[in-house]
C-alpha cells in the first residue's frame, strides 16, 4: 500500500511538473513596428 501511494505520488508529481514545463511562458515578443501590406500583382510577378 505504501509503495502504491509513493508510486502514485511520483507519477502525479511528474505529470504536474511536465505539464508546467510544457505549457508555461510565451513564444516571444510581438513586433513593435511594421505590418503587413498586400502586394499588388505587378510587384509579385
Amino acid at each position: 500500500m505504501k509503495a502504491l501511494r509513493r508510486t502514485l505520488l511520483a507519477v502525479g508529481a511528474t505529470v504536474i511538473i511536465a505539464g508546467v514545463v510544457r505549457l508555461r511562458g510565451t513564444g516571444g515578443t510581438p513586433p513593435k513596428r511594421g505590418g503587413w501590406r498586400e502586394l499588388p500583382p505587378d510587384e509579385l510577378a
Binding site: R22, T26, G28, P30, P31, R33, G34, W36, R37
Partner: protein
Amino acid sequence: MAPRVAVVGPGAVGRRVAEHLAGSAEVVVVARRPGKWERSVNELALALPADVTVLTASEGARRSAMAAIDSGSHVVSPLDDPVEVAGLLALDARARAKGVTVAAGTAMAPGLSCVLALRLAEDFDRVEEVHVASFGTGGPACARRHHAALTGLSVDWVDGRWVRRPGGSGRELVWFPEPVGGADCYRVSAADSMLLQPRFPDCRRITSRMAATRRDRLTSWLPMMRQPHPEGLVGAVRVEVRGWVGSCATTRILGAARPPAVVAAAVSATTARWLLEGRITTAGAGGLASLVAAPGEFILDTGVPVASFEGAAV
C-alpha cells in the same frame, strides 16, 4: 477535346479543385471509401486515362499515384503528411520513365509556402535560411493530421544535415497576416523542409512550424476527444527568407491568410492547370519549389492574395 482530370476524394479540398477546373477540363470525381484502397484504385481505374490525377484522399494515395503514373497521367497531391509526401517522392524514377510529373505537397504548407519561398529567393543573391509557419487546418483529415503532427518528429535542415526534434517543442511567436495575427508556433512533423531542401541545397537552415494552442499540445498524445470540425475557416501561412543581397544581410517575409482548404484547392487546381498547359514540364516527382519556374505568376494564378511584412523583424 477537353483534357480530362480525375479528382480522388470529394472532401473540402477535392470538391473545390473540381469546381476550379470544371470550366477548363472534363472533371471526374472519384469517391473513395475509407479503409478500402483497393476499391479506390479500382474506381480510379474507371476514371483513367486522365491527363492529370489529383489525389486529395490520404489512404492509398501511393497506390493510386502508381496507377495514375502507369496510365500516363500527371499526379497532383495536396497531402501534407511527410510519410505520404516521401512515398510520392519515391515514385520519381517511375514518373521519369513515363515522362509525367508528380507534384507532391500542393496545399497551403507545403504548397503555397514553397512558391512563396521561391518567389522571395528571386530577390536574393544568396539564400541562407527559409522558415515556414502555418496556422489552421482544412477538412477533418487535415485536423487529424495537425493533431498527430504535434507528437511526431520534426525534421529540419540545419547546417547541411537533417536534424530530428520532438514535435511540440521550439515555441516561437509568429506574426501572421490579419485576421490571424500573432500565434505561438511549434515544431511539428511536416513536409515543408523535405520539399524545399532539394531547391535550396546550400541553405543553412530550413525549418517549419505550425500554430497550436496549449490545449492542442496538452492533448496531442491522446486520441482526438471529439469529432473534428467539417472545415477550418481561418488559416494563414508565413514564409521568411534570410540571405544576402549584395553585401547586405536581408530578411524578407511573405504571407497569406485564407482558409487552408481554399488555399490547398487553389494551389492544386493551378498546378493541374499548369501541367495541362505545359507550363510545368519537369518529369519526375518533386515539390512546387522544384517544379515551378515562375513563382510570381503561379501565385497570381492561384488568386490567393499575398502580403509582405514590412518593418521590424519579428
